[in-house]
């Protein structure tokens, strides 16, 4: 975490550059939509993650103060749900589905291969910051098992080779 705001109160995090202002505006809009009521917490965290890419500590404190929710509860909710991440994502994201059909179809081997050859497991990012690996519970694309999502694009009928090649290309900036 880069910005350590001691106690921001109801003020936006100090890191507000113009680009971030826009992101914060989205967050504010969600909170206002629910009239800053505490039950808007999860919806707000979705917006934070959507606009910032992850749940930044400074923003979490800001959300806690605005919705008048104890920071402990914000942290509890942020860590309870799998969709939320407290770490900044890499340049590219690779999601491998580990639903039942995909598991039976061999997604376990794909994950094993990524661990061995790329050196990351679910939730981690390569040291060069290029590729983040995530595991999905079920994409609902069971007919295409094993399936994955590469930078938002669902791809089915994967094999370890295809996935490793794709990750390799990301890491070497091969634009194909």
């Amino acid at each position: 975490m880069k910005e350590q705001v001691p106690n921001p109160g109801n003020t936006p995090p100090a890191s507000s550059k113009p680009a971030e202002d826009h992101r914060l505006r989205m967050v504010n809009r969600t909170m206002q939509l629910y009239r800053n009521q505490s039950h808007a917490l999860i919806e707000t965290l979705h917006t934070v993650q959507e606009s910032f890419g992850f749940l930044e500590e400074g923003v979490l404190k800001y959300v806690a103060a605005t919705l008048r929710v104890p920071l402990s509860r914000v942290y509890a909710v942020a860590t309870f749900y799998h969709s939320f991440t407290l770490k900044p994502p890499g340049e590219h994201t690779c999601v491998i589905c580990r639903g039942t059909a995909c598991y039976i179809g061999g997604s376990g081997e794909i994950l094993d291969d990524i661990r061995e050859k790329v050196g990351i497991v679910s939730g981690e990012t390569t040291p060069d910051g290029q590729v983040s690996l995530l595991v999905a519970r079920c994409l609902g694309s069971c007919g295409l098992a094993p399936a994955g999502v590469f930078d938002g694009e669902v791809t089915g009928k994967l094999s370890p080779e295809v996935v490793l090649e794709k990750i390799g290309r990301w890491q070497t900036h091969d634009p194909q």
Binding site: H39, C138, G140, A145
Partner: protein
Amino acid sequence: MTLNSEDLHQIAKIEKDKQDGFQHRIHVCVAAGCLSCGSGVLMDALGKEVNRRGLDNWCQIKGVGCLGLCAEGPLISLATSGTYYQGVKVSDVSDILDALGGNPVGRLLCPADTAFFKRQVRIVTENCGRIDPERIEEYIAESGYESLYLALTQMTPPEVIEQVTRSGLRGRGGAGYPTGLKWTTVSKAISSTKFIICNADEGDPGAFMDRSVLESDPHRVIEGMAIAGYATGASQGYIYVRAEYPLAVKRVRLALAQAERLGVLGNNIFNTHFNFTIKVRLGAGAFVCGEETALIASIEGRMGRPRPRPPFPAEFGLWEHPTLINNVETFANVPPIIRKGGKWFAGIGTEKSKGTKVFALAGKIVNTGLIEIPMGTPLRDIVFAIGGGIPGGKGFKAVQTGGPSGGCIPEQFLDMPVDYDSLLQVGSIMGSGGMIVMDETSCMVDVAKFFMEFCMSESCGKCAPCRVGTRQIYDILCRITGNQSTPEDLAMLEDLCDLMKNTSLCGLGQSAPNPVLTTLKYFRDEYLSHIHDRTCLAGACKTVVEVS
């Protein structure tokens, strides 16, 4: 703006006339399965080519919901001739248009007279693959919102509940609680504020029915919820849908906006005193939120942890008000029940399980995809006739139903009718409808381990039996598949399963041992060979023992 029945008929008529104006109508499946193999690009290409040839008024290109046979996507259907094409590519566009009105393109033909299509009885999915899910007019043209009109203007709330009770509809989320009974309880609860919640937090890995229904026919669910609101006296609804289903979320939001604009949601619906609004809430990836009290906690913006029941949500639910929670598929069954009567619905299915059930067929099976069949269809027919059997000439081993809460059903029960009670008898559950087929290369201990790992990571941690039990069972299963187990482990495994089943707080913990228990019961030899002979009968687990 308020609507009356003439307006509805008018909209339906305009829509029908518009469709009849086309000589040919090409339906492209744009549900998530086909989209991920390129049906979006295909639809654009078809549209462009039709436009280039100047056939805009002759041939309609329409994006529709799931056509069912997800394995062969992208799928398109020619509505006018009933032809299905499978695995269509952009390069096939010209040939398809050339063949309109003549002989179909042979190489793309998807046989539509097979058991996969013929054996299905479509109630919930009657509009899937036929209407454009992003246009309310098309839903109305298929008698949409007629049931709501009927209920509001010609039936009292008790009469609506009476029809639902008579239909014998049971909760499609898995447990099979009678829907009519649930509605009665909520309607009798005394409170000025009540809520309707649609549980679309389809967390079972391997299940995608709810997603498909929401993506293909969202208005059906909305109509079902509104009818439930009228019957129970609620005026606010929530759809709690997984954030992992972005397309479903988008289409539900669009459908809600259209319904509000037209006045089938909002105040004084159809000029009556009934008001009903629906909001969308996004799940955030927690399987336990499918449990109703955890789901309520999540809507309230808290951690999704269950609480002991009673009091049940029907009396003490969302923000402490009486709340009716039903699954997507349950609500989707309501409009046809009101339209055609409870008696009609009760005529389908078996004695105790009425109607149809949508299943998601996946795993080692030829026809993966979505099917809707009458309750009581034998398992053998589902796997071999409808599902097309096991690919690659491999042998059948088991069917897993009910996801992490269900069990593995072995070959000896293949002739069993699929309904709530039969599945329960063999140690599994109906669940939400995921059906994963396994062939001889799947190791059942490994499958049990897979589900236990799932439950372990999804356990909310509130009660000790589930939090600790899932971890311990998982460790034992790891030792067994890693060939480091002792014979005592088996007894310990059974003890732990029994303990978890009887002492866990909610359904997740109580049912988490099911995959282990059923595999122990029907595939005990696989456990024993791992423990005693250090071999995996299926050849799936690494057999080399590495003792450090």
